[in-house]
Amino acid sequence: MSIKRSFLGVPIHLGTLLLAFFLVGGVDAYAVNPDVSDSEDAIQAGQALFNANCKTCHKLDQRYTGPALRGVTERRELDWAKQFIVNSQLLIQSGDAAAVALYREYNNIVMPSHDFLSDGDVMNLLSYIEYGDTAEAATEAGAVGEGGATGGGGVPSEYLTIMLVVLVFVLLLILVVLGLIVSVLTKYMNSSDKLDDEDKAFINQKGSVKKLLTSDGFIVIVTTIVLALVVKTAIDGIYGVGIQQGYAPAQPIAYSHQLHAGQYEIQCQYCHTGVEIGKSANIPSANICMNCHMHIQNVGGQEGISPEIAKLYDAYDNNRPIEWVRVHNLPDLAYFNHSQHVVVGGIECQTCHGPIEEMEVVYQHSALTMGWCIDCHRNTEIASQGNEYYDKLVLLHADSKDALKVKDIGGLECAKCHY
């Protein structure tokens, strides 16, 4: 039966390939560029740089605001990686296909330029990216696996898509092969004359689609699936009520954070004066705008007064406050204080507000749900260094292996935010 063997051979061969593919992709899908040092010093230096510049948007083994970084020197040319790190916009504008694709994939979020990094710095950074925190990678990958969440684990997401396509293709192929086998067998049995009428009837019976559709089993299965989908959608919908992630309303003046905070690098606190004082960070009052705009009347040295800046002058001259549209809306029942997080916690603005310095129009970066708050309180260490208030707590916590986190000092309690 040579035909049969050859048919069976296809799936076996494909299966072997697939297994090999999994092993390669999942365990050791890449080989690190040999120029990247794996010395302890380089990794440590890289870690410091990573924490200072990259951590807000990147993780080593997990897709975050930006892609998971480990394996980048295998996926890309070393030079390309270096160029992208130092100034990604330059690369994208030059029309580099890979860079543009990446930029599109991550919702056109601009990665700030890091032209202050020396070549050595970048190499150290890459050392950390490739060799740093491998333990963390394992646990994170494990956690993702257990939770069944999508997002890649150790496998980059583009491979996952390819794998899925291949899988579907293989399944279809198996279906075709099985069909062929059935028809061959039917023919063979029909040609045999050892069968009685009853057997023949059995062999030649036709499956009725109508019968299948009206069968109890089918109806139960379909109903269950439909119901499950409806319930899931409804629950998702309810959980989504009031969540305005991505909310980017049009403002009365087309103010660009990308220009002010990104290009001109004006400190956030310069305008948002309340951020270290009180609950509210303060939308700057017009007089703060006027500190600069008394002189600056248009963008990039152009002639005349820009129509947007003219709106500011109008408000200021006529003592008419500018009615900005609130982007971040917390419900009244939740108490939030900026100074607690910024002064005491030492949290960067971008941690919650995202890459604000790249936003032409400000949008709500984080979900601002209670779960989001609580997650951060679970994971964030207390900035207890040099703060006498925490002395006793640090002392009592000294025996513990884990760092002193917000959750350890009552940061998950209701009346910390609700009263």
Binding site: K279, R326, H418
Partner: protein, 1030 residues
């Protein structure tokens, strides 16, 4: 076990164990009360159907709805000192007539939201009262007069000034009628006005007059001043009807002083002894060690008898006086005499003759210069009843050209108000500067509304040598103008009052060389502190003229020891006072400290009177009576008041307002109309011509006294006497024991719970029952701080008041009572004890374990947290709370037309400006309770964290403790050995355990036997009585 066998009762219905009372007491929530105002048959109407339809529609569209667009509107030019969300504090002064308190105003985003006491003031020393606390709401009264009016028509200020100035200059005699003016600059402005106009006279009267004292000082010392009293320096205090802790002259100051003399510890067990002789049970009488109910007609004779007793001891001449037998009077005389120089006798009478004898008694006791001072005279009362009386006659005669009512309301609150109301029309020009509409302003032609005190500049001189300032904390909300500025304007002076005031200070303190250096610096400092002290003002104590025979003779004829008729004693309530602030719903809903009644006044009668007249009062259900006083008759509800002297009835001032505004108009009856001023002074004791006739009409008084009663659990309050305490510091303490396997244990030693650990803070509150006078300042302070809703009279009747802190007032009698006779004995003159009660923040909290949605939880700092957004309103927690301190929102009290008339702070756009932005306004269907001012704790912690330091004791304090004028509540961190609460409780070693071992013998937990382990500790009340009288 304790040896105290007293029976404690909140109301007479509890004493008799009335079955209805028991039924209510056993239930947390009253039953079968309608949740809807209309629709009594309970069936669903078409409206309900539509509502339900609406609800389903809303639910269906919820998923599709977008959050509303919210605006963030910054300043155009941000003021330097205002940061959104950061409060600013300004020192200022609360003054209403002669009532005075130095205060600190908390503002948020430029809105005053809370008033605290100013600790720099040597007079009020950081204390406040219910009236002072609530005054911030009157600023946001939407019904204040919106601008100048002429004959009911709104005009502009320039037109108003032109019109009035010409009228005034041609009016002839001008009279300015006012309550006591404490402000030197105001007096100067009035003088400037008088100088320009010519023929101007300022007539001063006070709604609650103490003319008797100033008049007596003039007779006895030759100087018509009100003395300063120093209750802290007195070891023996005798008061004849003076309610100095509640309503008499300067109660905040006196409470501060009084409580100093009542704080005891094992190291210092000296305590003042206080005798009270009075007709109505007053707040002060309730705090007295020895109280004797006497008839008003006997009060003058009692004072004379005391004089004679002391005079005999002193070897001075006695005076002729009818003999009278008064319980405890000779004991009081003995002790006063034994404590010469540290004894003080005061009287609430407005009869100058009685006050002359009081002066003479204090003279015998060498009180002047020790426990009172005429040299440091107080200026709180300058009213002249006789002059005011005459003015009404003059006005009636039509001889007066113009009358200006400067921030006063005599039509309502002067004895001859009704006459005055008609006489005003006889003056050619009549003006009122009142900021809000009132009975007098309704009768005048010209309305020139003044600013609210929180919008004004002013200075005050409450006592010789003591000055204070008030400054605006908000821009004027209406088109009003400061009255002093108006006066100056009409006198042709166009200086703004601020400049006038500053110039006056420059002149008085600077040019005279009182202060040197830079004026601006001096001014800024005074403004910052709110107070200024001048040391070399005042002269020595004046010598007495010594003759009291004329006064004694007058007393002998006007008082009788054998009166048998009914006598009416008119008094002021702690919350409402003279009625000037009656339109404030916070004050109306504050239960009266003694009667626990809200939203009403009533005729207080003794249990004997009730028995004789067949009246049985039950939980506020009573009958109306016709009260006739010298021909004037009014219909008034009866309230049976334990401790009321037989033969007397009491009626409170401050009610029966007709033009007060939406809250107060139409509440109660006006007692001023029953007063008599024909003897040259306003007499608050009507001893003749009073009849009370019970009618068949039923009435309900909204009394909270029996609400939230502990079920059959004793030892809630624990007390002893000083004699016992000196023998054994734990006297009066009840030490429950729990039986387990053959042994008896302290309840806290046996627990199902592992117990919390408080590693950083352990917040706690120590409440000294010996210091608490029951004044209720804390309850209003809590209401302001925590946005507690006002629910109105009907909902109080439904037992649904929302107060987070209440003051339980217990009477005690030697035995219970089943028959009317026994009831009469028990209610004759019961002892009274006050206990502030709020969430006890239990470490083994019963509420936490029963909540099905974990909406109430325990914090790592010892707080019992209530999370409104998680609460679904099962009310299990309230059912399981042994202290009955949880409050359920039966309605949406905010933005609800049904409550707009009471809950003004949560219903109109202006009233809402008073809300504390850091505290959620609760909605219908959720439970709420005392949070131990968690917003203040969080704010205090944040400040410390930002400054990278530990929290210092005292920098965080809860609203009730801040307000308390007797420092009865002490808040602090029980984990901090430096804290006052730690030291007061003498906590054994510093542990982070929730269960603190406390070594202070007086400290106890309420209901210790159930071992819920509260974080609120109480200290036993110690009465300064002899041992055998316990």
């Amino acid at each position: 076990m304790r040896d105290n066998k007293k029976t404690y009762w909140k109301g007479l219905e509890q004493l008799t164990n009335d079955p209805e009372f028991v039924k209510h007491a056993d239930k947390e929530f009253a039953e079968n009360l309608p949740l809807h105002k209309s629709n009594e048959d309970g069936s669903a109407s078409r409206r309900d159907f539509l509502k339900m339809m609406g609800f389903s529609l809303a639910a269906a569209s919820l998923a599709a709805c977008e959050a509303p667009v919210r605006k963030a509107i910054p300043y155009v030019t941000k003021p330097v000192d205002i940061d959104p969300s950061v409060p600013n504090y300004y020192a200022s002064t609360f003054v209403s007539g002669g009532d005075y308190a130095s205060v600190v105003v908390k503002t948020r985003e430029g809105r005053p939201i809370k008033i605290d006491g100013n600790t720099l003031s040597p007079i009020t020393q950081g204390g406040t009262s219910a009236i002072v606390e609530s005054s911030v709401l009157s600023l946001y009264d939407k019904q204040r007069i919106s601008g100048p009016h002429i004959n009911g028509e709104k005009v502009t200020w320039p037109n108003f000034d032109v019109d009035l100035s010409s009228k005034l200059s041609s009016a002839g005699t001008v009279k300015i009628v006012t309550n006591t003016i404490l402000s030197p600059s105001t007096e100067k402005a009035l003088a400037a006005f008088a100088e320009t106009m010519g023929n101007v006279e300022v007539v001063t009267y006070d709604p609650i007059s103490n003319y008797g004292i100033t008049k007596a000082s003039e007779t006895y010392y030759g100087v018509g001043v009100l003395p300063s009293y120093y209750f802290d320096k007195a070891s023996v205090i005798v008061s004849f009807g003076a309610d100095f802790l509640g309503t008499w002259i300067s109660p905040i100051e006196y409470s501060k002083q009084y409580s100093k003399g009542r704080k005891i510890s094992k190291e210092n067990s000296n305590m003042s002894r206080h005798f009270q002789f009075e007709s109505n049970l007053s707040l002060t009488g309730a705090n007295a060690d020895y109280r004797t109910p006497i008839r008003a007609s006997q009060s003058g004779l009692a004072v004379l008898a005391l004089y004679n007793l002391l005079a005999r001891k002193a070897g001075a001449a006695t005076v002729n006086a009818p003999a009278i037998e008064i319980n405890h009077l000779s004991k009081a005389a003995d002790e006063l005499w034994a404590n010469q120089g540290s004894a003080l006798v005061v009287s609430g009478s407005n009869d100058p003759n009685v006050q002359v004898v009081i002066h003479a008694i204090n003279d015998l006791l060498q009180s002047a210069g020790n426990t009172l001072s005429l040299a440091q005279a107080a200026h709180f009362r300058k009213g002249d009843d006789a002059r005011m009386n005459q003015l009404v006659t003059e006005l009636n005669g039509g001889s007066i050209g113009a009358v200006i009512f400067y921030n006063c309301n005599p039509v309502y609150d002067f004895a001859r108000g009704t006459e005055l109301a008609e006489a005003i029309a006889k003056a050619r020009v009549s003006v009122s500067t009142s900021e809000a509409m009132n009975e007098t302003a309704a009768k005048v032609q010209y309305l020139a509304p003044d600013h609210h005190f929180l919008e004004s500049w002013n200075d005050f001189n409450p006592k010789v040598g003591e000055y204070s300032l008030s400054q605006p904390t908000i821009s004027p909300l209406f088109d009003t103008r400061q009255a002093q500025e108006s006066m100056l304007k009409w006198a042709g002076v166009s200086t703004p009052y601020y400049d006038f005031l500053q110039a006056n200070w420059r002149e008085t303190f600077f040019t005279s060389g009182e202060v040197s250096g830079d004026f601006q610096q001096f001014w800024d400092e005074c403004l910052h502190n709110g107070v200024f002290h001048v040391s070399n003002e005042g002269l020595g104590e004046p010598a007495s003229l010594g003759d009291i025979s004329a006064s004694a003779a007058a007393i002998g004829t006007s008082y009788r020891g054998d009166n048998t008729g009914t006598e009416l004693v008119v008094y002021a309530k702690v919350g409402i006072g003279s009625g000037a602030h009656a339109n404030n719903p916070w004050l109306q809903e504050m239960p009266d400290p003694i009667s626990k009644a809200t939203w009403d006044n009533y005729l207080t009668v003794s249990q004997k009177w009730a028995n004789d007249n067949g009246l049985k009062m039950f939980e506020g259900a009573t009958k109306l009576a016709n009260l006739t006083v010298n021909g004037k008759s009014i219909s008034v509800p009866i309230l049976v008041q334990p401790g009321q002297a037989d033969g007397t009835v009491g009626l409170a001032l401050g009610y029966g307002r007709t033009d007060a505004g939406r809250v107060a108009s139409g509440l109660g009856v006006n007692a001023y109309a029953l007063l008599d001023s024909s003897k040259g002074f306003v007499n608050y004791d009507v001893t003749e011509g009073v009849t009370v006739e019970l009618t068949g009409d039923s009435y309900k008084i909204a009394q909270t006294q029996t609400h939230q009663t502990y079920m059959d659990r004793n030892f809630v309050v624990q007390e002893s006497t000083l004699g016992e305490y000196k023998k054994d510091a734990s006297a009066g303490r009840y030490h429950p024991k729990v039986y387990k396997e053959g042994e008896f244990f302290k309840p806290s030693k046996i627990s199902l719970w592992a117990g919390h650990k408080y590693s950083q803070h352990h917040w706690g509150l120590a409440i000294d029952l010996n210091s608490c006078t029951g004044c209720g300042a804390c309850t209003v302070a809590c209401q302001v701080e925590n946005n507690v809703a006002v629910v109105g009279k009907q909902e109080v009747l439904n037992r649904r008041e929302m107060a987070w802190i209440r003051i339980d007032r217990y009477y005690s009698s030697p035995t219970g009572a089943t028959s009317n006779k026994e009831l009469e004995q028990a209610a004759d003159n019961p002892e009274v004890i006050f206990q502030p009660m709020m969430c006890q923040h239990c470490n083994n909290a019963p509420c936490e374990t029963v909540c099905p949605v974990v909406a109430t939880t325990h914090s790592s700092e010892g707080l019992n947290q209530m999370t409104y957004n998680r609460c679904i309103g099962t009310r299990y927690c309230a059912n399981n709370c042994p202290y009955k301190v949880r409050r359920f929102n039966w309605f949406k009290y905010h933005d609800n037309q049904d409550f707009a008339g009471y809950n003004v702070a949560q219903n109109d756009d202006m009233g809402k400006m008073v809300l504390n932005p850091d505290v959620t306004v609760r909605s219908r269907g959720v439970m709420e309770k005392c949070s131990m001012c968690v917003q203040r704790i969080q704010a205090g912690k944040l400040t410390a964290k930002k400054e990278r330091r530990k929290i210092q004791d005292g920098e965080i304090n809860v609203a009730c403790a801040v307000a308390c004028p007797s420092e009865a509540l002490v808040f602090g961190d029980m984990n901090d050995p430096e804290s006052k609460v730690y030291q007061m409780l003498k906590i054994q070693e510093n542990t982070d355990s929730a269960f603190k071992e406390v070594n202070e013998e007086r400290a106890f937990h309420v209901l210790e036997e159930i071992n819920v382990s509260p974080n609120i500790w109480y200290f036993t009340k110690i009465r300064n009585k002899d041992i055998n009288e316990a």
